[in-house]
């Protein structure tokens, strides 16, 4: 009886284990054949980590390959609120605001979110990182990110532009050439160990493609000279704004472009939008007498006048279309050449009457006014040039002397380059080439001639007249010791809100080129509302003189050095 009972018990145990075995087999089969994908995915999530690989953003260089925008790695602070003790959170909320200049409420909001990852501060300084590390708060960590930095702070700030926190271009070249600079992101699937730490053993990987470098036509030295001289004038005359452009008239390459007020590229966040605007391409103004170069060129090209033709300048007052036109100084009989040299409004109006509206409009458009120049900078405007059918009775005398027409400083630079280079309108450009990491040229930008505006002969004749402006006319303060130069002064009245011309607010300007015989540079200087002096010949012409003198000396010394280097190089290769 006892044995039978034992056998039953053994059978029962056996049956129990057999049933359990069957259950296990069934369960394993279920897992293996029906839920394998689901569990494999969970395992993959636990073991693998998907990481986005940031590409290196391309650098921006000047003409001589001096860096203007580079990448520097910076630490960003993050927190893991889910894994943080409340005590650590409170310590962080108390201590971090003084180090990072953050708000207590901001930190409280971030740290009490039910998330495993939140950013607390992006791209902080090494000293801030050190101070946070000293606190030893658990649950805080740092990630390396690439930060855009600008070694020349405010030099060429309106051209170079800047990037946002995520390295996306927001202004200037950074914005315009973002597609070349940014590169393309890569990714990597890497292993994580049991402590969830990264182990750099890649499962799968797609390498990031670094951005290309952009080489500008801007020369850092010329840019600096222009910045320095404009800053002096901007401060001395307490101007509202100011701009200067230095251009190579033969190619249309911009060598320097400066605007005031300006800003530090490394601290663009705290600057108002007005300071960030590139006024050289985005601000419209009536040019005043500098526009007389268009009238003079049209008159000579159309053979309607010659330099010796005489015009009576009505002793300073002349009634046209119900308005009385004045000269800044009364003149009697003046030759055409003297009309431009002495900047007589009455004489210019009489020249314009000889030409007629259609011819004047044709040359205004031909010189590139009223249309975008196509420069590779964002924010360019087209300006304003009315068609003759919209002209009033006064327009006929206003446009030839630079009123009732809206231009940008860049358009003026292109126009004076036409005279300087023998009659060709060149497309202004600011990027020389795009290079890859190895220095190979990916794309280069060669000079583009838009159209021939005037003949070479006319250009040379206008050039001689403009040289006279500097030698004996209104632009005497632009005379450069040791070099010849040509140019035209301009003093334009600004419009008051009621539409009338102001007698207190002026735009002083000077456009010119040097050396006069074979111009290497064309320069435009404009100062908005300078005081107490406001004449272009007094305020803007000296800026031209100082910039042109230093730039010409620099170019004269720079080229022989390059020639010597080139000859040494060729000797070595031979």
């Amino acid at each position: 009886m006892h044995i039978v009972n034992n056998r039953r018990r053994v059978n029962a145990v056996f049956l129990f284990f057999f049933a359990f075995l069957l259950f296990c087999i069934a369960r394993l089969s279920l897992i293996q054949f029906f839920r394998a994908d689901y569990f494999a995915k969970i395992a993959q999530k636990q073991h693998n980590l998907f990481v986005e690989l940031e590409p290196r953003r391309g650098a921006i260089y000047d003409l001589n390959l001096k860096p203007q925008a580079v990448n520097v790695s910076a630490d960003s602070l993050y927190a893991s609120p889910n894994g943080m003790a409340d005590r650590d959170k409170d310590t962080a909320i108390k201590s971090l605001p003084s180090i990072l200049n953050l708000d207590h409420s901001f930190l409280k909001d971030r740290l009490y979110r039910k998330k495993s990852f939140v950013w607390l501060a992006r791209k902080i300084s090494p000293s801030q990182k050190g101070a946070i590390e000293k606190l030893g708060i658990k649950g805080l960590g740092f990630l390396k990110e690439s930060k855009r930095s600008y070694p020349n702070s405010y030099l060429a700030s309106h051209i170079v532009g800047f990037c946002g926190l995520d390295n996306v271009g927001l202004e200037g070249i950074e914005l315009r050439y973002d597609k070349y600079l940014k590169g393309s992101q890569g990714w990597s699937l890497i292993l994580r160990d049991a402590r969830q730490k990264r182990l750099d053993l890649e499962q799968k990987m797609a390498l990031p493609v670094d951005g290309y470098d952009v080489v500008l036509t801007i020369d850092e030295v010329i840019q600096y000279i222009a910045e320095r001289e404009l800053e002096k004038a901007f401060k001395a005359y307490r101007a509202f704004a100011a701009s200067i452009i230095v251009m190579d008239p033969r190619t249309g390459a911009i060598l320097a472009m400066v605007n005031r007020p300006t800003f530090d590229l490394n601290q663009y966040n705290n600057i108002d939008k007005d300071r960030r605007r590139n006024r050289s391409v985005s601000d419209l103004f009536e040019p005043g007498s500098v526009f007389k170069i268009v009238t003079a060129s049209a008159a000579l090209e159309e053979k309607k006048v010659v330099e010796q033709d005489k015009f009576f300048c009505e002793n300073g007052a002349y009634k046209v279309g119900g308005h009385i036109l004045h000269d800044h100084r009364p003149h009697g009989w003046l030759t055409f050449r003297e009309v431009i040299e002495q900047s007589s409004n009455i004489g210019t109006a009489k020249v314009a009457q000889v030409l007629g509206p259609e011819i004047i409009y044709k040359y205004v458009k031909s010189f590139g006014f009223g249309a975008k120049s196509g420069i590779d900078l964002p924010g360019e405007i087209s300006g304003m040039a009315k068609e003759p059918r919209f002209w009033s009775k006064t327009t006929m005398s206003a446009i030839p002397m630079g009123q009732e027409v809206g231009v940008t400083a860049l358009q003026l630079a292109s126009a004076i380059s036409v005279i300087a280079n023998g009659g060709q309108l060149m497309k202004p450009h600011i990027v020389k080439e795009i290079r890859d990491k190895q220095g190979e040229t990916i794309k280069s930008f060669s000079p583009v001639s838009v159209r021939r505006v005037i003949s070479e002969d006319t250009a040379n004749r206008v050039k001689k007249i403009l040289t006279g402006v500097v030698e004996t006319g209104t632009g005497r303060m632009a005379k450069i010791p040791g070099f010849t130069a040509g140019g035209k002064t301009g003093t334009a009245q600004k419009l008051e809100p009621n539409g009338a011309y102001s007698h207190r607010k002026f735009i002083a300007s000077f456009i010119g080129f040097a050396p006069a015989e074979e111009p290497l540079i064309a320069i435009v200087v404009t100062l908005d509302e300078p005081r107490p002096y406001y004449f272009g010949g007094v305020v803007a012409a000296p800026v031209f003189k100082n910039v042109a003198a230093d730039v010409l000396r620099y170019l004269k010394n720079k080229n022989p050095v390059n020639e010597v280097l080139a000859s040494n190089e060729s000797q070595r290769t031979d």
Partner: protein, 122 residues
């Protein structure tokens, strides 16, 4: 299959498995070592970039201008610059003056001052 053969098979399979495990462990160990070195390398590269950036920043014309302005440094005008003749011109001028001195010395019996000469010790 006979037992010894079976045991041999089991032993060799076990050895292979152990080798595989050992190899995998070594891979992971090396990965950790490599990771440490790569972090060091990345930090060094970052420092290098930072130093280059600082050099660029310190030699930037903007900063130099600020420093020069602050220190009241004045560039000398052209008349204050001393012009030094080139080496060949300088040597020729020296020869001319020394030959004149020799002539004067021989005519008037004036002793020339001692001149430093390089000594060839060979």
């Amino acid at each position: 299959m006979k037992l010894p053969k079976f045991m041999l098979l089991v032993a060799s399979v076990t050895c292979l498995c152990l080798l595989y495990v050992c190899q995998q462990t070594e891979i992971f160990r090396l990965a950790y070592v490599g990771q440490k070195r790569s972090i060091l390398l990345r930090d060094s590269l970052d420092k290098n970039t930072m130093l280059r950036y600082n050099i660029n920043k310190n030699t930037s014309l903007v900063l130099l201008n600020d420093r020069i302005t602050a220190s009241n440094f004045e560039m000398p005008d052209s008349y204050r610059v001393v012009k030094v003749p080139g080496v060949s011109q300088g040597t020729a001028a020296d020869h001319r003056s020394s030959s004149l001195k020799s002539l004067a010395a021989s005519v008037f019996g004036i002793k020339r001052q001692a001149e430093a000469r390089t000594i060839d010790r060979r």
